[in-house]
């Protein structure tokens, strides 16, 4: 391997990884705060892509606005779904929360996917380009859309991170993920936090889908790949550990870039999975995971 190939792989891996970070962060957050293993996370990515597509084509908005609108759309859909499904589920739940909520998300995923198929059809809905052109970067020519998409992802991650760390609401979310009863005793309204958390997580996924629209067009089942990729990340680093998903996302991105270059695209999942299984065998809680309280 000469050095351009290496830098090529590295850049490709990091660009990919940025999206995984964005996706995985929301997934990890929802599990950390609400104990929901979200199977419908990819569907919000799909929604984001469609939102952006319609904002661009029907609405005629410029790309940046379209992506913001998609994010807002994801937020609203997420909030709605939380209120309609998880809220009553939590009210009525008598044990088995993780499994039951998992199945509810599976149901959501089924519904969203097939609604999209019924309403918009199965064909690809994409835009040829957002900004177009390419940028020379470390001796490589990378398309502007990729770079900007990556920057959007990083900006969203950074803003989200600051929100969690610096704002009152962000602190409340983290408090709930640390200790639910404790947070409740401190006067935090759990219901609001849950809705907000799910909405934010959906928003991040929607932004990811929207930012990539010119590279990956929208179609009903497009959420599957990002879904299991982000699960790769989250399981690799440890569930509920939001900070570590940043490292994990890039790690998985690079691993995939390397394995698909050296073994072919069909092997990249096999390689990622084998690595995850090896990691879990040595460290069942993931690379950076804490042991959950007994």
């Amino acid at each position: 391997m000469d050095s351009t190939v290496i830098s090529d792989l590295l850049v490709g891996g990091i660009l990919r990884g940025g999206m995984y970070v964005l996706m995985a962060m929301g997934l990890s957050l929802v599990f950390g705060v609400m104990r929901i293993p979200n199977f419908a996370h990819g569907e919000f990515y799909m929604l984001g892509a469609y939102f952006s597509y319609f904002a661009c084509t029907l609405g005629g908005f410029p790309p940046a606005i379209a992506i913001v609108l998609a994010g807002i759309g994801g937020f609203v859909c997420g909030a709605l779904m939380e209120k309609v499904t998880f809220y009553p589920l939590r009210k009525r739940s008598r044990g088995d929360w993780i499994m039951n909520s998992f199945l509810v998300t599976a149901g959501l995923s089924f519904i969203l996917q097939n609604l999209a198929q019924a309403l918009v059809g199965t064909d690809f809905k994409g835009v040829p380009q957002y900004w177009g052109g390419s940028i020379n970067f470390a001796g490589l020519s990378v398309s502007t859309d990729r770079i900007v998409g990556f920057l959007i992802a990083m900006a969203s991650v950074a803003i989200f991170w600051l929100f969690l760390k610096k704002t009152r609401t962000g602190n409340a979310i983290r408090a709930v993920s640390e200790h639910e009863t404790g947070a409740m005793l401190m006067g935090i309204e759990l219901n609001k936090i849950h809705t907000l958390t799910f909405a934010l997580s959906s928003m991040l996924a929607a932004i990811a889908g929207a930012a990539l629209l010119s590279i990956i067009p929208a179609y009903p089942t497009m959420g599957l790949q990002p879904l299991y990729k982000s699960w790769f990340v989250v399981i690799l680093v440890g569930l509920g550990n939001i900070q570590a998903t940043i490292i994990g996302g890039f790690l998985v991105g690079v691993i995939e870039a390397v394995s698909s270059f050296s073994l072919g695209a069909m092997w990249q999942d096999v390689v990622s999975l084998s690595i995850i299984i090896l990691v879990l065998l040595v460290k069942p809680t993931g690379l950076f995971g804490k042991k959950m309280k007994v």
């Binding site: 009553p88 589920l89 088995d96 519904i111 097939n114 299991y228 299984i277």
Partner: protein, 340 residues
């Protein structure tokens, strides 16, 4: 005369007890017998085919319930393992000319061996981790089947010879009927035995189970392996019943279909999922004209069951029986002991 009568009731009681060991209540036997005559009672090929598919899904759902209901591991790679069984049997037949009957069994064992490996790798972890890792493995099986076009012809699909020289459903009905009954009896028997006790204990409180001396890995892996065997067995039948295989058989949506049936039927009962298949499969077949909206309904149903009645049909039945027994207890309680 009195002794004769008590002899008879003794015999009946004994028989009932023995059958009970196989999980066969009189009602269950009655339904099975009735079902056995179905091909003679129903002339309509379309309905018969629907029954075959219901039996197939019912058997799959029973196998799924063994893991999901008892050790609390919903196997998200279930469709992948079913596909593995199907492809194993089909490839043995097309490449080596091995009889589909042996192939079906070989497919089941293949799925079981895979299940054993997956179990050893993943069941150390929480049920949900195991579920998700099993899902990854299912996805990889599907990716491999799609990519290894030299062997499987990928998405083009593999033509598979049928069990019989006919496309009529009647003989296939009896094949899946036997598979279903055997699966039902074995699973009921296993779950009513001490093995089932260990499964339940592990699924309901793994820590308490460990303090009771139950070895968690051993029994979870046994459970998972049996469940995967059933998936592989059904896969083999599917291959030689349908006559064509595509990697789509391994897709997650089929796992979800089985899962919806299993959960509507009710976890931890075995019979509930089987019964539910006969309700859900025909209804959704009937709803085919709705196209994608059919799956929307599937999703809605799953969510509604989870929110409002996560126990499913089996739980509802137990609830009714509970009320009935309570009444009986109240009625007969003082009577049976007049001096109390």
């Amino acid at each position: 005369m009195i002794s004769e009568k008590s002899l008879e009731t003794g015999f009946v009681k004994n028989l009932k007890h023995n059958l009970g060991n196989f999980g066969l209540s009189p009602v269950a036997i009655g339904l099975f017998v009735l079902l056995g005559f179905a091909p003679y009672l129903i002339g309509d090929e379309y309905i018969l085919r629907l029954l075959v598919i219901s039996l197939l899904f019912g058997t799959l759902a029973m196998g799924f319930d063994l893991s999901a209901g008892y050790i609390d591991v919903a196997n998200w790679g279930y469709a992948g393992l079913m596909g593995l069984g199907a492809y194993t049997s089909a490839l043995l037949l097309t490449n080596l000319g091995i009889s589909p009957w042996i192939g079906t069994l070989a497919g089941a064992f293949m799925a079981a061996i895979f299940g054993l490996l997956i179990g050893v790798l993943t069941l150390k972890m929480d049920g949900m981790f195991a579920a998700i890792l099993a899902w990854f493995i299912g996805l990889i099986l599907m990716a491999l089947t799609t990519s290894l076009t030299g062997l499987t012809r990928g998405a083009l699909g593999l033509n598979v010879d049928l069990y019989f020289n006919t496309g009529w459903s009647k003989p296939y009905f009896y094949v899946i009927f036997v598979i279903c009954i055997v699966t039902y009896i074995v699973l009921r028997r296993v779950t009513n035995s001490n093995l089932g006790l260990a499964f339940s204990a592990l699924g309901q409180d793994a820590e308490a189970a460990r303090t009771c001396g139950v070895d968690p890995m051993k029994y979870k892996v046994i459970n998972f392996t049996i469940s995967c065997f059933v998936a592989g067995l059904c896969g083999g039948f599917y291959a030689h019943f349908m006559g064509i295989l595509t990697p789509d058989i391994m897709s997650t949506k089929h796992t979800v279909e089985v899962l919806v049936i299993a959960y509507i039927g009710g976890r931890r009962s075995i019979w509930g999922p089987l019964l539910a298949a006969f309700l859900v499969v025909p209804v959704f077949e009937y709803l085919n004209f709705l196209m994608e909206f059919k799956y929307v309904i599937y999703g809605l149903l799953l969510i509604l069951v989870m929110i409002f009645y996560p126990g499913g049909i089996a739980h509802f039945y137990n609830y009714i029986v509970g009320i009935f027994n309570e009444k009986k207890r109240k009625l007969t309680g003082p009577e049976s002991n007049p001096f109390a």
